[in-house]
Symmetry: none
Subunit: 404 residues, 2 copies
């Protein structure tokens, strides 16, 4: 019996309310100096660290760099080795698409194709969202369907979109057409199961048609598809943990994954952290929710850009907003990330993620700051994968005693 | 899907070069005082500890004392619970034997047999290598084969040798004839699978003949066999990790296990650590190798002898040689052991092994020394089994992101 099955038999419904604050990619590196967290002035986080208990968390396993989805699944208590979810369905849900049986989803990028089918820019210079919409309209009107398969296109930010193929016998997963590196040719999509043959044929035919339709454009003269799959079957957090979770997030991928695990996405009026806090406050007033996932993206974006100073500022900005959450007096509050994104590396990394847990019944440690170095010696020790969720449920009094 | 299978899907080939320095049995105990590592003057290791990240490593699992083979398999990224390799084939490879299909290998000791078939000295007073060779020649000329089975004998150091049985249907593993304690009778070898019946018959017949041939000798009047098995099938480090590994080791067992995981054994001209360093330097100049395993045996030997002071000196000797390795500027350098061998215990032990990892993208901790007590607080935390290899590959940039 796996860890999740054991947990499922121990959980109970209680009125206690949990807030999980995710600073995307918050973990960092300092080279010979301080990390992003160590550099930030963040009095509220440090105060919570002194009153609560800290630790380090390995979202997947030591040395393994999580993607956004696997990092989040693990945060939400799902074993990332058992549940593998591709980007296509996650993005489609996040863009507000209502799934139907028989859908096959792909995450798309507009890109620039040079001579010999080499991809010269995987993001077509991050074209405007407006141009993105115009190009999708052009594609839609030219290829409304392929054989019996209906195609819907959803515009995302900048170069990003979603393609949804709807018909019989469209079975994912398929391989990506995105070569992941520039100056490489794009790839045909292959089925990963024998049942995926028709799906691959349709997807590759769609890609060829797009090449024809976009050939006069510049720089967005082609598309790349990845994460091509059907909607995964995944038990919800209600079923697994008896929770009624609410998600406050702006970016489609995070809204998508939240919905996949059965969270209700709270509408956010605006795109700033302050707007998310307002959405949280109004969701709090609905007494049915007992789990709040608040996602802040920019710490990761600045990490990916290698912008150490802006990542530090973003941490400080979230810190300043914490009193508005604490004012609601959650029973358990956790601050962490879904993975590390050190500005020094300009990418996600395998380095363990600092965790801060505040609850009345936390066993206080001697941590004075919320940082990688302080968390290393924290009372939670080194947690792995879905263990973090277990610890969180425990502090909320939501777990029965194990066995006799 | 197990951890190794996941890792296999994430590894990529890069030019980064890794050096794994193994001080055999380096972990120790201090009683009420300092351990061997804590007593040693080792400025280079301490400097690397300050610049890198440290931790403790459980080669198998907490409380489990590793053998040399399981400790090394785990170091090389193999789950020691999935891959069990007996001593016979390891020693044969290490002695330079070229394996053939149908071989069955046994590690042998000359021993002293007293009245009532009781083993009075399991090593026959550590007879000279020269006498070993004479006795093996005597046995070989008397029993070149048994039925259709050809027998080859390879001399090792002192009382150690290897017996190779070559023929049809010789299926290991078989049980040991070595009772592992003195004043106990030697044992018949039993097959561990139904297919091993012929192999056991041949091995037991060989043992009886040796008793007859050696009965006039003293003290080496008999032999003990252990680790009797065919060559295991084990995927190489190239297949698993896309590495091209080189091994620099003197002792046959370590050369054997290195070859079993697909390492190229670099010739070493001499038997001193300095000779190994020279071999490393010349191997480094061959650009194809991207993983270097350097094995230093004497820390373990002095630990086994209970010679605390000499074990300390041996650590100091290796420390003095580190600049010759660092001069080559490896991308990742790890210093650790395959297990602990505290001089206070005169044997391998279960105590976790200190690990030091140096790499540009390591998250520095505040470790000031390379020692058991300092590593306890290190940023790598407590790693288990093959996780160490995962972390090592991560720091070398050789692992793709996990899932989306």
């Amino acid at each position: 019996m796996g860890g999740m099955e054991i947990l499922r038999n121990l959980v109970k419904k209680t009125p206690a309310r949990i807030v999980l604050v995710v600073l995307d990619g918050v973990g960092g590196l300092g080279g010979a100096g301080k990390t992003e967290l160590e550099s930030a002035r963040k009095p509220h986080m440090d105060q919570l660290a002194r009153e609560g208990v800290c630790g380090l968390w390995e979202p997947v396993a030591p040395g393994i760099t999580p993607g956004s989805i696997s990092g989040h699944l693990s945060l939400f208590g799902y074993d990332p080795f058992s549940y593998r979810i591709l980007r296509g369905p996650v993005e489609a849900l996040g863009l507000g698409y209502l799934p139907q049986r028989g859908d096959l989803y792909a995450r798309g990028n507009f890109c620039t194709l040079g001579p010999n089918n080499l991809v010269t820019d995987r993001r077509a210079g991050r074209i405007s969202t407006e141009l993105n919409r115009q190009l999708l309209t052009k594609i839609s009107s030219s290829i409304p369907q392929i054989q019996d398969v209906k195609i819907s296109l959803l515009s995302g930010y900048e170069h990003r979109f979603c393609a949804i193929f709807h018909g019989d016998n469209l079975n994912g997963p398929l391989t990506d057409t995105d070569p992941q590196e520039t100056m490489k040719p794009f790839l045909p999509s292959y089925p990963l199961t024998p049942e995926g043959e028709k799906a691959a044929r349709v997807v590759n035919s769609f890609v060829s048609s797009c090449q024809e339709i976009l050939k006069g454009e510049h720089p967005a003269n082609f598309i790349l598809l990845r994460g091509i799959d059907n909607l995964p079957r995944i038990p919800g957090m209600k079923e697994l943990f008896h929770l009624t979770p609410a998600a406050i997030a702006i970016y489609p991928a995070y809204r998508g994954i939240a919905q996949l695990v059965g969270m209700k996405c709270i509408p956010v009026d605006g795109e700033a952290p302050e707007d998310e806090i307002r959405a949280f406050q109004s969701a709090w007033d609905s007494p049915s929710y007992d789990f709040f996932y608040l996602h802040f993206k920019k710490t990761d974006s600045y990490g990916e850009d290698g912008n150490f100073a802006r990542k530090v500022q973003e941490i400080e900005k979230i810190d300043a907003l914490l009193p508005a959450i604490l004012q609601k007096q959650p029973d358990v509050m956790v601050i962490t990330g879904d993975h590390s994104t050190p500005a020094l590396m300009k990418s996600h990394s395998w380095h363990p993620v600092p965790v801060l847990l505040w609850a009345k019944n936390a066993r206080r440690d001697s941590t004075l700051h919320f940082s990688e170095s302080a968390c290393l010696w924290g009372g939670l020790g080194h947690l792995r994968g879905p263990e973090l969720m277990t610890v969180l449920l425990a502090h909320a009094g939501k777990l029965n005693r194990f066995c006799a």
